[in-house]
């Protein structure tokens, strides 16, 4: 039996139907007035840019469509590979060197210099994280973005009642040494048999950010984890580095800080503090709206960042902000969104909320400063702002949190704390695994 082939008429019918079907949605969209605009895609979380704010922007800027998509690093990488990267992306400071190394960011220096909203003189020094003269020289040169809101992250929140029960009083205007902090933590930890009911000291998202904490502490000692060209990590041969790592390691070993052998009961460190399950917490000013609540209400006090030896530093270790990607098709429209978000109503709203320090000096006066608690915290913050420095992050480590350094430490920590590995073996393993990650980053970067 012969098979009947598709006739020419049938083929034309099918092709015509398919073509009409593909053109139809585009035609409908093109007919919409909103489509006659420049579209700017902003990758940021919904709790950082609300629909109300977007609607306000659209009313004031009818020629731009602001399209917000949720921040997702893997999605960002996929969009980069596809050539459809968002115009503006939420980032943290540790990612800037690696993005600069791979030419992923738009140089915004001309925009800043011409802007009446984001004037360079009005920028807080923390915005130096978004300046680079090449990936190995962060803190100077061209501007690639700015901070959304930030805090000096090494400050210490204490539960004053918990300290008083141990016979300890602290003066918020006086800076503790790290040794004094450790002594307070050891004196205020509360255990009941094998249980740790109150940890003595918890610190900033210790698992994912432990290497940033080390680097912040090492700033005062004028050294760091890496060689000057960032190609080598050196832990074993640097006594200052070992001292810093040992500080938190010993507290974990004794069950004073949380770890796999003395786990946290709450879901995160901030929750533990407000539940009264921690007497000291190394968090930044951003924690202010939450610190004085729950079991910590009327007991929370913010202290300056500890010091090793009277040359204090109080850096920000996150500096969450935004950049415009180099591949943007609408740089001018993207800059208008950027300028609005980082310098106008959204920035003012964030400053009033008290969840961080604004990136502009002119917005500092909007920060909450009415209650005694807010004023006391603000007084400590003002001291810390005088000691703000940038941390040199490694351009060859791609993942911001946790970096392979932090991940290696956390992966091996259990063996060390349970005696299956010595401290020296832990350091050797972290150094070896981190160097492997750096070598891979070097191979893929153009620095």
């Amino acid at each position: 039996m012969s098979e009947k082939k598709l006739s020419r008429r049938d083929l034309l019918k099918v092709l015509g139907t398919a073509t009409a079907a593909s053109v139809l949605p585009v035609g409908i969209a093109k007919a919409s007035p909103r489509f006659q605009t420049d579209t700017v895609t902003f990758m940021i979380n919904s709790n950082e840019l609300s629909d109300d704010e977007i609607n306000q922007f659209h009313e004031a800027n009818p020629d731009i469509t602001l399209n917000r998509i949720d921040y997702d690093q893997t999605r960002f990488y996929a969009m980069l590979a596809a050539g459809t990267a968002p115009d503006i992306v939420r980032v943290q400071a540790p990612t800037i060197p690696q993005y600069v190394a791979r030419n992923l960011l738009l140089d915004l220096t001309p925009y800043f210099e011409a802007s009446s909203v984001l004037q360079p003189d009005d920028l807080m020094p923390v915005n130096d994280y978004y300046r680079a003269d090449g990936p190995l020289a962060i803190g100077q040169g061209s501007r690639y973005g700015m901070v959304k809101d930030w805090s000096p992250d090494m400050t210490i929140w204490v539960n004053a009642t918990s300290l008083e029960e141990a016979g300890i009083t602290v003066d918020p205007t006086q800076r503790l040494t790290y040794q004094e902090l450790a002594d307070i933590a050891r004196a205020t930890v509360q255990k009941q048999g094998d249980r740790v009911l109150v940890h003595g000291l918890l610190f900033a998202n210790a698992g994912a950010w432990i290497d940033r904490v080390w680097m912040a502490m090492l700033l005062e000692k004028e050294t760091g984890l890496y060689s000057e060209d960032f190609r080598t990590i050196s832990l074993r041969d640097n006594s200052d580095v070992l001292e810093v790592i040992r500080f938190y390691y010993d507290l974990a070993l004794e069950g004073v800080s949380d770890s796999v052998i003395a786990p946290l009961s709450a879901g995160w460190h901030g929750e533990a503090f407000v539940n009264g399950q921690a007497s000291c917490l190394q968090y930044g000013y951003w924690f202010t709206p939450m610190a004085n609540t729950g079991e910590a209400e009327d007991h929370a006090v913010m202290l300056p960042a500890p010091t090793w030896a009277d040359s204090p530093v109080s850096p920000c270790i996150t500096a969450t902000g935004g950049v415009i990607t180099a591949g943007t098709q609408n740089p001018d429209a993207a800059w208008r969104v950027f300028e609005w978000y980082f310098g106008q109503e959204p920035a003012q709203n964030r400053a009033r909320g008290g969840w961080g320090v604004p990136g502009l000096r002119s917005l500092l006066d909007l920060m909450p400063n009415e209650t005694d608690f807010q004023q006391a915290t603000r007084a400590v913050l003002d001291i810390e702002l005088e000691h703000n420095f940038t941390i040199p992050f490694n351009p060859y480590l791609i993942q911001p949190e946790p970096t392979p350094v932090a991940a290696s430490y956390m992966n091996n920590l259990e063996a060390a704390l349970t005696g299956a590995m010595t401290f020296d073996e832990l350091i050797e393993a972290v150094e070896r695994e981190s160097q492997e990650a750096i070598d891979e980053g070097i191979a893929s970067a153009e620095v």
């Binding site: 980069l80 590979a81 094998d194 698992g207």
Partner: protein
């Protein structure tokens, strides 16, 4: 003409599935295979280099990979038999004429519909060391004790209990359907021939259920080898699974870290392909052995 129309109708009917299968299964597999032969790290799209099978060779020699694989095999050997026995036992119980059987079946099935985040949340409240319900209860009888149920010494047992509890209902439902399809006259005939309860179970129930058991074994093995969500969620601190205790550092957790922490997308894809191949081979072996223990009524070799 009628044949052609039937062919067109066939492909039209299966086209949604076919399209989905190709786009959501075949294409990702092929892209994953390609990625496994590169050094892709998320940011080097423009400077990718072809690695051949280097990622595979590195994975097969990596002590961490071998450790995680060993942990996963151990996890599977514990969890799959445990789940099979308990869910089959429950199905046998629920197949009896007992009061409120429907309510009991529903209650037993409920854990299977709880999302992984909810499961982790519930069990963390129970197993948490300092303020958890279990330690609080034990403290009434042994004051001062506080077993770290999620610590290195007990995590494997604790998480196995959670996995079994979660899967009991879905396993029970499948076994129950099989039990209810066993012809009553076979059991009656066995009893008439003098078989006791154990004899009926051994010579009638088990052989008739053997195809269902095979199905459950395959499903259980595949699920166990891919276990990931609940262990990671139980150790939420630090993010990305870096704080999961070593005793339950399963293969998928290690792979997840390689991809999303160390940004080794190529190496991670190789790890996933190795797991895929292993599961395929293991499943084929189980299928091959099934002729020795699975009863099939239509199988000339098995003979009815």
């Amino acid at each position: 003409m009628r044949k052609r129309r039937r062919a067109i109708a066939f492909y039209l009917f299966i086209s949604p599935w076919l399209l989905g299968f190709v786009l959501l299964s075949i294409v990702p597999l092929v892209v994953g295979l390609w990625m496994s032969m590169t050094n892709y790290n998320g940011l080097n799209w423009d400077t990718l280099s072809f690695q051949g099978f280097n990622n595979y060779a590195k994975a097969l020699q990596d002590p961490e990979v071998l450790f995680a694989f060993g942990r996963t095999v151990g996890w599977t050997l514990i969890n799959v038999p445990l789940w099979l026995v308990t869910s089959f036992g429950l199905a046998l119980l629920m197949n009896q004429s007992i009061r409120a059987r429907g309510v009991l079946r529903t209650l037993l099935y409920l854990p299977s519909v709880i999302p992984p985040v909810g499961i982790a949340w519930i069990w963390k409240i129970i197993l948490e060391r300092n303020y958890g319900l279990l330690n609080g209860f034990i403290d009434l009888f042994i004051p001062g004790s506080a077993t770290y149920w999620l610590g290195p010494d007990h995590a494997l047992v604790s998480l196995s209990v959670i996995a079994c509890w979660t899967g009991l209902g879905s396993g029970m439902v499948i076994f129950l359907a099989g039990l209810q399809n066993i012809p009553a006259e076979l059991e009656e005939a066995a009893r008439i021939d003098g078989a006791n309860a154990w004899g009926v179970f051994r010579y009638v129930t088990l052989p008739m259920m053997s195809p269902i058991i095979l199905f459950q074994v395959i499903l259980g093995l595949i699920g166990a080898f891919q276990a990931f969500a609940v262990p990671v969620l139980m150790y939420g601190g630090g993010g990305m699974g870096v704080t999961v205790t070593r005793s339950v550092r399963l293969y998928m957790i290690h792979t997840y870290q390689e991809i999303f922490v160390n940004q080794r997308f190529g190496h991670g894809a190789a790890l996933l392909w190795l797991l895929f191949i292993f599961i395929l081979v293991f499943t084929a072996v189980v299928f091959t052995t099934s002729r020795y223990w699975v009863y099939e009524e239509a199988n000339p070799a098995g003979g009815a």
